[in-house]
């Protein structure tokens, strides 16, 4: 039925099957949209956030998806700036995942703020000293860049490509894509960093606060670094999942392995930096404010030293070791484990830097407070996941996302 739209030389499932898939995921999407409307119409009392948890699940989701979406900028950076040409076989997908992550982040932000209709004040009345201003500017600009990077892909659809204007536009955009990618990388370095700065600058919150250089706390650099390390891992992970679902090999192993190797070294260096940062913070920064590091990990029902071990050792050192060793990269289960751990690790880091910062009591007579999101918060957080799945489904079906697909899956 829709065969005219499907790229030439590839096989896709039947329309019926595809519609069932859309229907199931669409139902989840609608649930999320319903929750989103509740939050907009009735206000944020629909959430379990409170005056102690001004930042909660959504801000974590924002930080996490932006870190995971970091595959787009870093792969782009490697492909267009460093010149790792093999990566052209995965860049499309990295861009698509990035596009989904960033549009999701913007949507979540629009739900998260108390007065969405005034959201534009962040630009109009910008306070340049606020990390959040930097986030908002760079995020929106980079989202623009991702749109620009995604647009040619859409225009390469079999039918659209027939329109000469679209064909030329797509071609021209490819021509100067390095310029956009460079701008995107520049923007990304800053907004990934400023997201790290969000909690790093909070000198009233000793758990989040870090010293740094000029106006940038160490978390600024750690966030950029970790996004560069774990974003590509997430791209690999999603690629692997897509291959599993479509029961097709879509990207050649050497491409994946190259990306995994670079990620591995990034992750290894990041983990070392993170350990150093944690050590300095635990032995110098926190004590100067009257805190012994275990104060942050005791007297509460959830946050214990285990989370530090999980984030740094299990989800940092371990995947880094797997990825930097050739045998690790070549072993499919090990590779899969490593990218999963890396994605979890960066998510745990973002969780800690948002939720645990809020949970730790600062006034000596205050107490730990735990938080569990309301269903509306969970639904609105799952909403972008459903949206992402649908967009991937549509893009994979109708757009030539994987340049190696035809070669790897010859149609009889």
């Amino acid at each position: 039925m829709d065969s005219a739209l499907i790229p030439e030389g590839v096989k896709r499932c039947s329309v019926g099957k595809f519609l069932i898939f859309l229907g199931v995921v669409g139902a989840v999407l609608l649930w999320g949209v319903f929750a989103m409307l509740l939050c907009w119409i009735k206000g944020l009392n629909q959430t379990n956030m409170n005056d102690y948890y001004g930042f909660a699940l959504w801000i974590w989701a924002d930080l996490a998806v932006i870190a995971l979406g970091g595959g787009a900028f870093f792969t782009g950076f490697l492909r267009y700036i460093i010149g790792k040409d093999e990566l052209k076989n995965i860049i499309n997908y990295a861009v698509l995942i990035g596009f989904i992550c960033y549009s999701s982040a913007l949507l979540i932000l629009a739900i998260d703020i108390g007065q969405p209709l005034r959201g534009w004040f962040i630009f109009w009345h910008a306070n340049v000293h606020s990390m959040l201003t930097e986030v908002a500017f760079c995020l929106s600009c980079y989202f623009g860049v991702l749109t620009i990077e995604y647009l040619p892909l859409i225009l390469e659809n079999r039918q659209l490509e027939k329109v000469p204007f679209f064909h030329h536009l797509s071609h021209n955009m490819h021509e100067i894509m390095a310029v956009f990618a460079a701008t995107g990388a520049f923007l990304s370095f800053f907004h990934q960093g400023s997201l790290g700065g969000v909690s790093g600058v909070l000198f009233g919150r000793p758990f989040g606060y870090r010293e740094g250089i000029f106006i940038w706390p160490w978390t600024f650099f750690l966030f950029t670094w970790s996004a560069a390390a774990c974003g590509p891992c997430f791209t690999i992970l999603i690629t692997k999942i897509t291959e599993k679902v479509t029961r097709k090999k879509l990207v050649k192993d050497n491409v994946i392995e190259l990306l995994a190797k670079i990620s591995g070294w990034m992750l290894a260096t990041y983990t070392i930096a993170k350990i150093l940062d944690t050590w300095y913070w635990a032995s110098v920064t926190a004590p100067s404010k009257g805190f012994w590091v275990l104060d942050f990990y005791s007297n509460n029902p959830f946050y214990g030293p285990w989370i530090l071990v999980l984030e740094i050792i299990i989800c940092g050192v371990l995947p880094a070791l797997i990825l930097i060793t050739e045998s690790g990269r070549k072993s499919k289960p090990a590779l899969l484990l490593a990218v999963i751990l890396a994605a979890i690790g960066v998510s745990v880091n973002r969780w800690v830097m948002v939720l645990q910062v809020m949970a730790v009591p600062v006034m000596p007579f205050d107490s730990w407070y735990m938080y569990f999101p309301s269903w509306q918060e969970i639904a609105t957080t799952i909403l972008p996941v459903a949206y992402g799945v649908i967009l991937i489904g549509l893009s994979h079906r109708y757009l030539p996302i994987f340049p190696q697909e035809k070669e790897l899956n010859p149609v009889d």
Binding site: Q115, L117, R118, V163, F165
Partner: protein
């Protein structure tokens, strides 16, 4: 369809150009801007109107403390209540309840028109009626009862006995032919009986806290709302500045105890014993004012009784306090230049045992501190109400000669003027027709504030005709047949004798209307006059005034002018108070219940953030209640962790538990606190309302439902301070 390059180009440029054009036009920017402006002026977010600012001085009558207030108005709206500077009671300060008074004035619990009951008694279903209908119905009912010779079956409960409105009610009853005027008893009444017995005077107690230099408090909530709140707070601050020592004797660490220099946790109920233990030491060591006491009547008997029974070793078990502590307390107390011993538990809203009051007062007497700077004063009634004796007709005389329903003034209870606590049992124990055929209630909420409220409500349900003058839909108003709503306190003109201010001189206040009445209400004074007029003849003749305002002006006479200007007048009057010691005729009041079956003692405690009298808590007050007292609708009781671990309970912070007393049980949650004696459970007073609005109703439980009355053997007042209790697990 074939799209030619030209067509495509033109369509394309049209779309792109159109989009760009729109984006560059002011339209989207204007819309975005308008939307954000709209969010700043949501029609459902109120925008208070500006206007001319003015201040009206008045006197707060939410409690009998008699503080001066200054109310800020914007046009005809009252917007803020502040303390009146220069007022002898509070000098600019104001308490938490007084501050939130506008929530009562403009609040949803106001009764807006006269109401007539349509549902079952206590159900709270009413219909609106006119003032004419309402007054006519009440007058007819009263007329019928009077003509049937049942005038003595009409009773009246008033929040206080002082002031023109209570006196008008009393006068109405007198000329109508009923002796049954009752007021809600407080510690003032227990003190009044004490002063009568120990000095032979009719007087209110005054406490010269500003000049005392050692304060020994037997459970009085000095900063919990005892006496006149603001005055006591100021005194407490002055003590801090002057390093004056306060010793608080109390089984739970109240705010007062936390602020005090020394907290002595004594077994609850043993305060009177402890006071006499201190008296023992003073007598033994000759640390008392011999020139005052030795010549006082009954002193030798008193000395003998105390010496025989109150040696520290004898009372150590009862009080839980060591001999040395008692010894040093006695030395410190007697050694101070102006020591002051006070009692009246918590806010003093309940009378307490006569034994205890007299024991504590004896300490002041031994210290020679009566009617002296820094001591206790006998403050005479200001006596400004001097109306002509009314002429009683035959019915009235007959009615007045019948015995009082509550037994006050009888041989059994010679000292009490009224005994409201005896009213419910009198009604419930009567055979045949209810001994109270009609009841008038003004400024009182006995269905909430009396002990064992279940019984009280049962009794109220039996009274055939209840008339309430309440401004608010409280628990008692729900039991009314007719409600004749009074103006709220900021809407009416009324004298406010500050009998609870505890100053050494009587102070009269004048409460002035700050705003015009918001609803179709009537001043109770005017309603009483109207009722009297409707009853006719001699009853009407006793009320010659055209209106309540005219009555008040005439009553105050030469004081009217200055009162009207300043809102207060200090009456320069004092009274001779010869000292006489009492024979040991009073007994301590024990907690009801079997010790084995009920291992704990349950004790209500007062908090300044919980109004627990006739006035219900305002939303602002409830908002300040900590989450260790109330969470959602669950009340928390305080218990020492040592007591929480016992049995099979092993309670944790916030555990739900069944609290059972001989009077009833209720599901509560526990707050583990090191600030309370093991074995004692403390429950906040002031929660558990069933009436009022969603900001108060249904929150927690009323401690009075779990506690039964304990009649004092000396005065007949309800002197209950606690009850035995047990905790059992509850299935959730």
């Amino acid at each position: 369809m074939k799209v030619s390059r030209r067509t495509f180009l033109s369509i394309g440029s049209f779309i792109v150009g159109g989009a760009a054009g729109t984006a560059l036009s002011p339209l989207p920017w204007k819309l975005t801007d308008d939307l954000s402006i709209w969010t700043q002026n949501w029609p459902w977010t109120p925008m208070p109107e500006r206007g001319e600012v003015s201040y009206v001085n008045s006197v707060c009558t939410l409690c009998p403390g008699g503080c001066g207030i200054s109310v800020r108005k914007v046009n005809d709206r009252a917007v803020k209540i502040e303390g009146m500077k220069g007022h002898p009671v509070n000098d600019g300060g104001i308490c938490i309840l007084g501050l939130s008074g506008l929530q009562l004035l403009y609040g949803p619990t106001r009764i807006k028109t006269p109401l007539k009951r349509v549902g079952e008694k206590g159900q709270g279903k009413f219909k609106k009626i006119s003032w004419d209908e309402a007054l006519k119905e009440v007058a007819e009912k009263l007329g019928t009862l009077r003509s049937e010779g049942k005038s003595h079956t009409v009773a009246c409960v008033s929040g206080s006995a002082c002031g023109t409105v209570p006196q008008l009610l009393k006068r109405l009853l007198t000329v109508y032919g009923s002796p049954n005027f009752m007021s809600v008893p407080t510690m003032q009444d227990a003190y009044a009986v004490t002063l009568k017995l120990m000095h032979g005077v009719d007087a209110c107690p005054g406490f010269d806290v500003e000049n005392a230099d050692f304060i020994l408090s037997f459970g009085s909530g000095i900063i919990e709302g005892w006496g006149s709140t603001v005055r006591m707070f100021k005194a407490n601050s002055a003590w801090q500045d002057k390093k004056i020592k306060v010793v608080q004797i109390e089984s739970r660490m109240s705010n007062t105890a936390a602020k005090a220099a020394k907290w002595i946790p004594a077994r609850p109920g043993s305060e009177g014993v402890l006071a006499l233990g201190i008296a023992y030491m003073m007598l033994r060591d000759g640390l008392y004012k011999k020139e005052v006491c030795d010549s006082a009547a009954g002193f030798e008997d008193f000395r003998k009784t105390v010496s025989e029974n109150y040696a520290p070793e004898n009372i150590a078990a009862a009080t839980g306090i060591e001999k040395e502590t008692i010894e040093s307390l006695a030395k410190e107390f007697a050694g101070a230049a102006s020591p002051l011993a006070i009692c009246g538990r918590g806010q003093g809203h309940t009378p307490g045992s006569q034994y205890e009051f007299m024991a504590v007062h004896a300490l002041n007497a031994l210290a020679g501190n009566i009617n002296k700077a820094g001591g206790v004063f006998t403050v005479p009634d200001p006596k400004y109400i001097a109306w002509a004796e009314p002429e009683l007709d035959e019915t009235a005389q007959k009615g007045m000669s019948s015995p009082r329903i509550d037994g006050a003034g009888s041989e059994t209870y010679p000292h009490a003027k009224s005994l409201l606590n005896r009213l419910p049992p009198a009604i419930l124990s009567a055979q045949g027709e209810c001994p109270v055929q009609a009841l008038l209630i003004s400024e009182a909420n006995p269905c909430y504030t009396l002990s064992d409220t279940q019984t009280v409500k049962k009794a109220f349900a039996k009274i055939p005709f209840v008339v309430s003058f309440s401004s608010y839909m409280d628990e008692t108003a729900q039991y009314a047949d007719i409600i004749l709503p009074n103006h709220a306190y900021l809407e009416r003109l009324e004298d406010a004798p500050a009998y609870a201010a505890g100053l050494s001189k009587p102070v009269i206040g004048l409460s002035k209307p700050v705003v015009t009445p918001q609803f179709d209400t009537k001043h109770t004074g005017d309603a009483v006059i109207a009722l009297a007029k409707a009853l006719g003849d001699k009853v009407a003749a006793a009320f010659p005034w055209e209106s309540y305002a005219a009555c008040l002006e005439e009553t105050l006479g030469d004081k009217w002018k200055s009162l009207n200007e300043k809102c207060f007048a200090v009456v320069e009057e004092s009274i001779e108070a010869p000292l006489q010691f009492f024979k040991q005729e009073c007994k301590p009041v024990f907690a009801e219940g079997d010790e084995k079956q009920y291992p704990f003692v349950l004790m209500p405690y007062d908090s300044i953030r919980l109004a627990n009298g006739f006035i219900g808590n305002t939303p602002f007050l409830t908002k300040t209640v900590p989450d260790t007292v109330l969470r959602k609708n669950d009340i928390f009781v305080e218990i020492n962790p040592k007591s929480a671990g016992g049995d099979s309970l092993s309670l944790r912070e916030g555990s739900a538990v069944m609290l059972t007393t001989p009077k009833g049980s209720a599901k509560v949650r526990v707050h583990l606190s090191e600030e309370i004696m093991p074995g004692v459970i403390a429950i906040p007073r002031g929660l558990g309302h069933t009436a009022y609005d969603k900001y108060l109703a249904g929150k927690g439980i009323n401690c009075n439902e779990l506690i039964g009355p304990a009649e004092d053997s000396g005065s007949g007042f309800d002197a209950v301070w606690g009850i035995r209790a047990k905790l059992s697990s509850v299935s959730i």
